[in-house]
Symmetry: C2
Subunit: 417 residues, 2 copies
C-alpha cells in the first residue's frame, strides 16, 4: 500500500502515484467529469474522476497520479483515481461546509458542534486558540516558570460565595474551583514561578456574550517582585509571545495580528476616571473600558492598555495595597480592544496582613485556614495574573460572543453537546 500523503503535499508530488485520505468537502458533477475536493488536516485536494462520486462528508481514501493544474487548489490534482470508501455519512451536515463563508446561526453551530466546526473558518479559530496556549506556555517556560496542575474540587468557596457550583463529594459538600488563585500563590513558595492552563468554573447567572460556566484560565504567578509593575512586564512578554505563536494560524484566517507596544501604555485608576470625566465612579463599567481603549488607540496607537491602582474595596482580600496610596491597590487590568482581558496584581505576602485584611472585611478566616498557613512559612513578595483563553481568541478574531470560540460551551442554558 502507498502510504498516505497530505493534501498540502500534492504540489511537490507531481508525476508520482500517491494516496490521500479525508472528507469529501465538495462534489461537483459536470457533464463529462466529476470533481471531488478532499479535505484533510492540511487543506484541500482536488480529485478528478467520472461518475456520480460520493456525497459531501463521505470519508474516503484515494490513490492516483498527481498532475499539475494551475486551476486546482495548490496547483496540482489527483487523476486516474481509485477511490476507497472509509465511512459513509447517514445524514447531510446541518449547513454547507464547503461554502467559503457560513450562514448558520450560532445556536445551529453550537447544537451541531462536532460537524459544524469542520468548516475551515470555524476550525481555524481553534487553531488560533491552540497556538496561543502554546505561546503562553513556551514564553513562561523560557522565563523558568514551572507548570502546575491544581485541584478543581475544593472544600470551601473562597473567592465569591454566590457564583460557585456545588459538588457532592463522597457525602460531603464541596465546590468547583473558580480559579487556582490560592494554590498558585502557595506554590510560589515552592517553585518561585508557576503557571497553569486549566478549566475554571463560574456559576454565572449572566446570559451575556462574555461569560461562560466553564472557561480555560491561563494563570501565572511569580515571586521576588518589587511591585505589580514587574508582573505587568512579564505579562507584556507573554502577550507578545502568544501573538507570535498564533500569527500563522491568524494568517490562515486572513486576520492581522495586533501589535504589542514595547511598553504598553498605563493609566492609574484615578487618572482614568479624570479622563472619562466621571470622578465619582468606584469601578470601571464596560462602557468606561471601551472609552479608555479608544483613548489608548488614539493617543498611543495601542490596542492594549493597562489600568492600575483599582480601589482596594473593589479587589479581592489578597490584594496588596499601594504603599503610597493605601486606598488604592497594586492591582491592574489589561484592556484589549475595549474589553478587560487580564486581571492581575501584587498579592499580600505576610501572614499578619492576611489576618488584618480578612478582619477589616468582616470575613471569617476559618474557610481559608490551610491557605493562610502557607504565609506562616516565609513567602516572598509576589503577584500574578489570569487571562481567559476564549476571551483572548474572541478579541484576536473580533468575535463578539465567546461561545463561538469555545468548542462545547457551558452556560446557564447549555449543557450539551
Amino acid at each position: 500500500m502507498i502510504s498516505r500523503v497530505l493534501a498540502a503535499d500534492l504540489p511537490s508530488r507531481v508525476g508520482q502515484h500517491v494516496s490521500i485520505a479525508g472528507w469529501v468537502h465538495r462534489r461537483r458533477v459536470l457533464k463529462s467529469v466529476t470533481f471531488l475536493v478532499v479535505r484533510d488536516r492540511s487543506g484541500l485536494a482536488q480529485v478528478v474522476t467520472t461518475g456520480p462520486g460520493v456525497p459531501e462528508e463521505t470519508v474516503i481514501s484515494v490513490s492516483g497520479l498527481v498532475v499539475a493544474n494551475p486551476q486546482a487548489p495548490g496547483g496540482a490534482e489527483l487523476t486516474s483515481p481509485a477511490v476507497s470508501l472509509l465511512s459513509a455519512p447517514s445524514a447531510p451536515p446541518p449547513f454547507d461546509l464547503y461554502r467559503p463563508g457560513y450562514s448558520a446561526t450560532l445556536p445551529t453551530i453550537l447544537d451541531n458542534a462536532s460537524v459544524a466546526l469542520r468548516h475551515p473558518l470555524l476550525r481555524g479559530q481553534f487553531e488560533v486558540t491552540a497556538a496561543s496556549a502554546a505561546g503562553f506556555r513556551s514564553t513562561l517556560d523560557s522565563l523558568e516558570f514551572t507548570e502546575i496542575h491544581t485541584p478543581k474540587i475544593v472544600g470551601s468557596a473562597t473567592e465569591s460565595g454566590s457564583s460557585v457550583f456545588g459538588v457532592s463529594y463522597f457525602g460531603r459538600r464541596a465546590f468547583l474551583a473558580q480559579s487556582p488563585q490560592l494554590f498558585k500563590q502557595a506554590l510560589v513558595g515552592v517553585f518561585e514561578r508557576v503557571y497553569e492552563v486549566g478549566p475554571v468554573f463560574r456559576a454565572e447567572p449572566h446570559d451575556t456574550g462574555r461569560h461562560l460556566a466553564q472557561y480555560t484560565s491561563l494563570d501565572a504567578e511569580l515571586g521576588f517582585i518589587s511591585s505589580h509593575v514587574d508582573v505587568m512586564a512579564v505579562l507584556r512578554t507573554v502577550v507578545a509571545g502568544m501573538i507570535t505563536s498564533a500569527t500563522p494560524a491568524l494568517a490562515r484566517l486572513s486576520v492581522a495580528p495586533p501589535t504589542v507596544p514595547e511598553e504598553i501604555p498605563s493609566l492609574h485608576f484615578t487618572a482614568a476616571l479624570e479622563l472619562l470625566g466621571d470622578s465619582g465612579a468606584v469601578d470601571l463599567s464596560p462602557a468606561h473600558e471601551r472609552a479608555l481603549s479608544e483613548w489608548a488607540l488614539r493617543e498611543h496607537g495601542s490596542e492594549f492598555l493597562f489600568v492600575t491602582g483599582y480601589p482596594m474595596a473593589k479587589r479581592p482580600f489578597y490584594t496588596h495595597p499601594d504603599p503610597t496610596r493605601p486606598g488604592y491597590s497594586n492591582g491592574f487590568d489589561l484592556l484589549f480592544r475595549g474589553v478587560e482581558l487580564v486581571t492581575g496584581g501584587q498579592r499580600l505576602h505576610n501572614h499578619a496582613d492576611y489576618l488584618a485584611a480578612l478582619a477589616a472585611r468582616g470575613e471569617d478566616p476559618e474557610p481559608y485556614a490551610s491557605y493562610l498557613d502557607t504565609f506562616r512559612y516565609g513567602m516572598p513578595p509576589h503577584g500574578g495574573f489570569a487571562m481567559g483563553l476564549e476571551r483572548w481568541t474572541a478579541g484576536l478574531l473580533g468575535v463578539s460572543n465567546i461561545r463561538q470560540v469555545t468548542l462545547f460551551p457551558r452556560d446557564l442554558h447549555r449543557l450539551n453537546p
Copy 2:
C-alpha cells in the same frame, strides 16, 4: 539597585558584587562565622556572615562580593553581605527542609504541602511531571495534533455510572467528566488529530495508592488509522518524547530514565493468559500485570509491554472489535514496571455499529444522543489513548503511592489543603 542573580549563577560571577534572593535553607552558626545557605529556584548559594543570622525559611535578599571557595555549593560564596529581610516566618516548618533526605510521613507532607514541597527532593518530582507533560505536548505538536479543551461538566454520566461526581448545575443535575473520551473522538472529525491535558474526575471509593478522585489525564486521539497498531506506534513515540523531555529533571533527582525499545514488545491477551498459566481468566489482575512485566524484562529487556486484544466484554462500548477474532478487541494496555500506565485502542466509527453495540449491551442510546450524532456525518477509522500523568511520574520515580506525586491530592478522605 543591583538586579538579582540566581544561586546557580554565582560561580560565573566570582569577583563581582551581586544580589541574590531566596529562602534561608540552612543557618549554621559557628564560633566566629555564620553560614546562611540561600535556596532559590536554581539551587543553593552560601552566604558568609557574622552574628546570629535569621531562621530557616526566612525570605531575604543579599548583596555581597562573590568569592571562589571550593567548599561552597557550586564553588563560590557570597561574602561581606548586606542582608535585607523580605518576609519572616512565624512558625518553623513541620520538618527540616534542609536535610538531604526527609523523614516526614506522607500524611505530614500532604497536610503541609505548600511548605513540605519546598524540600528539593519533593519539589523535584513535580519538575519531572512538568517536563513530562511538556514532552507529551511537543511530541504530539510535531505530529500535527491540535490541542483541545473540552467540558468538565457533562449532562449524562456516560462511561460508568457508579463512579461519577454529581454537580448542581443551575438547578439541574450534571456530572463531572470522567474523561474527554466522547469529545476527543468527536473532534477527530474536525482536526483529525487532537490531544488534551486536563483534569478528570472519578468518584473512586477505593482507598489505594493508585487511585485519586482527580488526576491529570493525557489524552490523544487520531483518525485515518489502519488499526490499534497505528495508535501504539504514536504512543511509543510519545513515551520516548516524554522521557527525553524529563531526563534533565530526573538527573537532578539522580534517577536514570527508562529505555524505550524501538519496538515495544507486545502480547495478545490470550497469549498473556497462556504465559500466566491462567487460561480461564477474563481480565488481568494487578498480580498478572506484575508477572507480565517481569516476563517482558526477562525475555525482552523491556520495562514496557503492550497487551493487546482484551476481550470485548471487558472494554467500553465504543471499542472496535478485532475483525479476525470478534470476541476480542482492537484495544490495548501499556504496562510499565508492573502497572497499567496507558489504556487505548481503536474505536468504532460507523453510526450503525454504535447503535448495535449499545443494543447488544442492553444500553439506552438516549444519554449518548449528541455524541452518537457525530457518527452520522462521516468519521474516519480512529483510535487513541489516555495516560494518567501522576501515575507516569510515580512509575518513573518508583513511588508506590500516587499521592506523593500529586500537588494537592483529592481522595475519599482528603479535600484539603
